[in-house]
Amino acid sequence: MADIVLRDVTMGIGNPNHVHFHRHNQLNLADQNVDLMIQEVNRGGLVESMINDIAGQSGGLSVQPRGAVEIEDTFNMRRGLCRLRFSVMVNALKEVELIVLGYLAGGEAREDGIDPATRFVPVRTWSIDITSVNDMTGMPDVRQTVNNSAQFLLGDPNTGKKLRSMRPIDIGNEVLGYISTEQEGRQAGYVGNATADLSNSLLISKTQNMDSTHYAKQLLKIAGNVMHDDVTGGMGIEDSISGSIYANSMAEQLVSDNEFFRAMAVATGTWHYKGFEGFSLGEIASVFENFTDVLDDRMLDANLFDEVDNVAMSSAYGATTIIESTAKEIAFLCADLAIRAGLTHVVFAATNDVAEFGGFMEEEGVKLVSGEFMSISDQDPYAINRLERFKQLFKDKFYTKFNSGYEHQRTIVNIAVTCSLFGETSVELFFNGDIQTKQNYTNATYYICRTSPNIAGTETGVSDAVNFLNNLREYIN
């Protein structure tokens, strides 16, 4: 095991928010795309470009919210935030910086510092490879790349509502389990894949899964394999599904793969996360003894920062409207793309309304203007490169769905986003160029472990997806 050293602990504070609602990733496959897929499958298999094309059009969040998200205390409070930064030594040339972000819960107010009973609830984690390289002139240089980023998925802390994780791999597992019980004629009693039950465990989900296009793509991949094997009569459906879900692109990490969790588990002897409510700060301090030396809690002072009352300044969640689900989708997408590009903070505005940018069009038919931004690493001379990467990713991932080669066929969306990787992401948007209908939604990214689109608020979210795959298989026959 690699050596892990706690570098710094930084605390901060959030703002009051509206109650968030569960919305999960969904695949809304248009009828003509079903026909297209069948056609392609009959020709020998789905090609990647076709999958991307269809996924770009059909991924989205469920429009109807499914239950309010349960959280410790309430959403309407200033929440303590905490960032743990570790160094993991790999070898002389390579070092990994591991970040674990979480929010604080419990504990009592004390004058002499932070109560050790305060719990650190993990939300996100990522690691940055810091490698010494030589540039083409032979001069030493340092390359910093985000090599891994994930969010944690947690169950309901209060009432024990039965939440299920629906990462692509969970859906695959679910279908696989369903089919095997079906073959025994016992599918009526199939209650689902136990590993996806969040009341049981802490799960890790790749940050990419927050991108509903990515989710759609993974599901389509499974569907494509199943359809293909069905048509060619090659492998059985169990083989094709298990083959697809254990492929690298869909695999997920284990919690114990994370160096921080591994260190905690080794020290405390607890390897399971049943009913996990976070680690207490005292517990962390007992494992990483320099905790108090590197702790910086100055920013945990509510008087230091003015409160931004998001409850007063943004719309409440809970409606079944496209504008709300799109705002939520943008917030999740930005949280994914920012880390993928290597930014912690980015402000931008974008539109695909040609009238807005004076008649000339970029290739994608999208204009994106960026404001301030911040790189993920401390001293980064190449932050601007990361920003450009982000801009490109956002145009590709988000606007594909609304754009068409023909201007009259597109849905015009104007957005203005302030995204913080660990803070609040506020999204202002309106459709069809009608600024009168502008809405402003704020999504607290530090609750993503509870609000993630990979969590299904009700069982129907999962069964919807499972039945989709199952029905598709039957439909082509």
Partner: protein
């Protein structure tokens, strides 16, 4: 209200629904309003005002138009099917009496031969026979009954289309709906079997004796009110557009049946009006062809796009009364729960014979025994004031060992310990501490399986039905409860 909702509202009204001012959809039967629920959530019309309110999370919307082409019957469609069944059956039931009174009355000059033919058998029929019809029709249902006997009056059968349409321009058929009349077929079968017998002879119809004359009259009524009974294919409807295809084909078929039933009313408009029986409003049907474009006015919504339940499990939903029928569940846990209650009652009954459990509250402790597992015989209870718990002792008749049900002060069951052999501790029950009697296997289950007590209970009741959980279902035989989660197991 947008065009789509106007259409939905018209359809709902036509099939016996009411849209309340707050847009909630309820069913009206007789003078009663029955709530429609899916997984416990009330049904609403997806009007903008409701969609934009911030309280949509616990509502289900009526949006069958967004059903995906690959989907099987959705939960919303199940409701539609039942509403249509009830609407047509209730209307049909009213006809015989009206027609009989018309036939008994004075013949009108403008009646043509067709009308005379319709009324002829009714005129001849005795009052007793007409009365008997009511009894027969009362046993018509809208669902296959619990014993699997098909007593349905009508069923509009939707099947996945194949090939090209013969009727509408040769497009690809996505869904086809054809009416079937299970009771009519049964009546015809009985009549032909008893061919040549006198009208006052009795014939058995689904286990009930009825006179042959009444059956003959009923068959006649079927034929004149819904001529499609003799040629169901003529009333079938094919949809050739992949969008909303099930709905279009279903209501296409419904329209033709409803039209036939309206036709006979309109022959005797005045008489039906007097009794307040009005035709089914079908003015919305011409808008159905716009549905493939209209349905986009509301985004795709859960319970409408994809079925959330498998068809195989569908029939296990036992239909006990009207309210139950309109409370659709997407997963099939409900029957299991009902079974659980039945067992509970049975157990209480057993206990009264053997150990006489006390029910009620003593010293502020609820001493009513908890639901027990089959095979446990109740012995007695003991109040533990220190732990604030009530312990119920019972004998596991299978292993002949003592089991303890630990309950809270309020009577909620916490756990069942059965690892205490009878010969060891029967004298000192107070020593059985909650949690100590838990064997390691149970602890494992608590860790990995994560089942709620109820689920575990069901697992035992149904003989390991839920095995795909990959937990050792057959082990222990004890109920693990939430309070053990607090004791981490290393």
């Amino acid at each position: 209200m947008n065009d789509l909702n106007k259409l939905y509202k018209a359809i709902l009204m036509a099939i016996g629904g009411i849209v309340k001012p707050n847009s909630q959809v309820v069913l009206s039967v007789g003078n009663k309003e029955i709530d429609i629920r899916v997984d416990g959530m009330y049904l609403y019309l997806p009007v903008t005002e409701v969609l934009e309110s911030t309280e949509t999370s616990d509502k289900v919307f009526f949006h069958p138009g967004c059903e995906h082409i690959t989907s099987k019957e959705t939960e919303i469609f199940k409701i539609i099917r039942r509403m249509v069944g009830i609407r047509l059956l209730e209307l049909f039931k009213k006809y015989p009496v009206v027609l009989a009174s018309i036939a008994a009355g004075k013949e009108k000059r403008n009646w043509n031969q067709n009308i005379l033919n319709i009324l002829e058998p009714l005129k001849e029929a005795k009052k007793k026979t007409v009365d008997e019809l009511e009894g027969i029709m009362a046993r018509f249902t809208v669902e296959i009954d619990d014993n699997g006997v098909d007593t349905r009056f009508i069923h509009l059968k939707v099947s996945k289309g194949a090939g090209r349409s013969q009727t509408s321009g040769g497009g690809k058929v996505y869904h086809k709906t054809k009416p079937v009349f299970p009771m009519y077929s049964e009546i015809i079968k009985r009549l032909s079997q008893s061919e040549g017998q006198a009208d006052n002879q009795t014939v058995e119809l689904n286990g009930v004796s009825v006179s042959r004359g009444a059956l003959k009259l009923l068959a006649h009524l079927f034929q004149v009110i819904i001529p499609a009974v003799t040629d169901p294919e003529s009333a079938s409807y094919e949809s050739t557009n992949s969008a909303a295809s099930r709905m279009i084909s279903y209501f296409g078929c419904f329209e033709q049946i409803a039209e036939q039933m309206n036709r006979i009313q309109n022959m005797f408009r005045g008489d039906f009006d007097k009794l307040g029986i009005y035709p089914i409003d079908l003015s919305w049907t011409e808008q159905m062809e716009e549905l493939p474009t209209l349905y986009r006015q509301v985004p795709s919504l859960e319970y409408n796009t994809h079925n959330t339940q498998d068809e195989a499990a569908e029939n296990t939903n036992a239909m006990n009364g009207m309210a139950n029928m309109f409370s659709v569940t997407s997963n099939n846990q409900q029957p299991a729960v009902q079974q659980h209650h039945q067992l509970q009652q049975q157990q209480v009954a057993n206990g009264q014979q053997l150990g006489m459990p006390v029910t009620g509250v003593i010293d502020g402790f609820v001493v009513t025994p908890p639901p027990m597992i089959t095979g446990d015989r109740y012995i007695r209870y003991e109040i533990d004031h220190y732990a604030n718990q009530v312990r119920h002792y019972a004998l596991n008749t299978l292993t002949n060992s003592q089991v303890v049900y630990v309950c809270t002060r309020a009577g909620t069951m916490l756990q069942r310990n059965d690892s205490v052999p009878n010969n060891q501790t029967s004298g000192i029950p107070g020593l059985t501490m909650p949690g100590i009697g838990m064997n390691p296997m149970m602890a494992m289950m608590g860790m990995g399986g994560g089942l709620t007590p109820q689920q575990l209970m069901m697992m035992q009741l149904t003989g390991g039905m839920m095995q795909p959980q990959a937990t050792p279902a057959s082990s222990g035989g004890s109920v693990i409860t939430g309070n053990q989660f607090d004791n981490p197991v290393y």
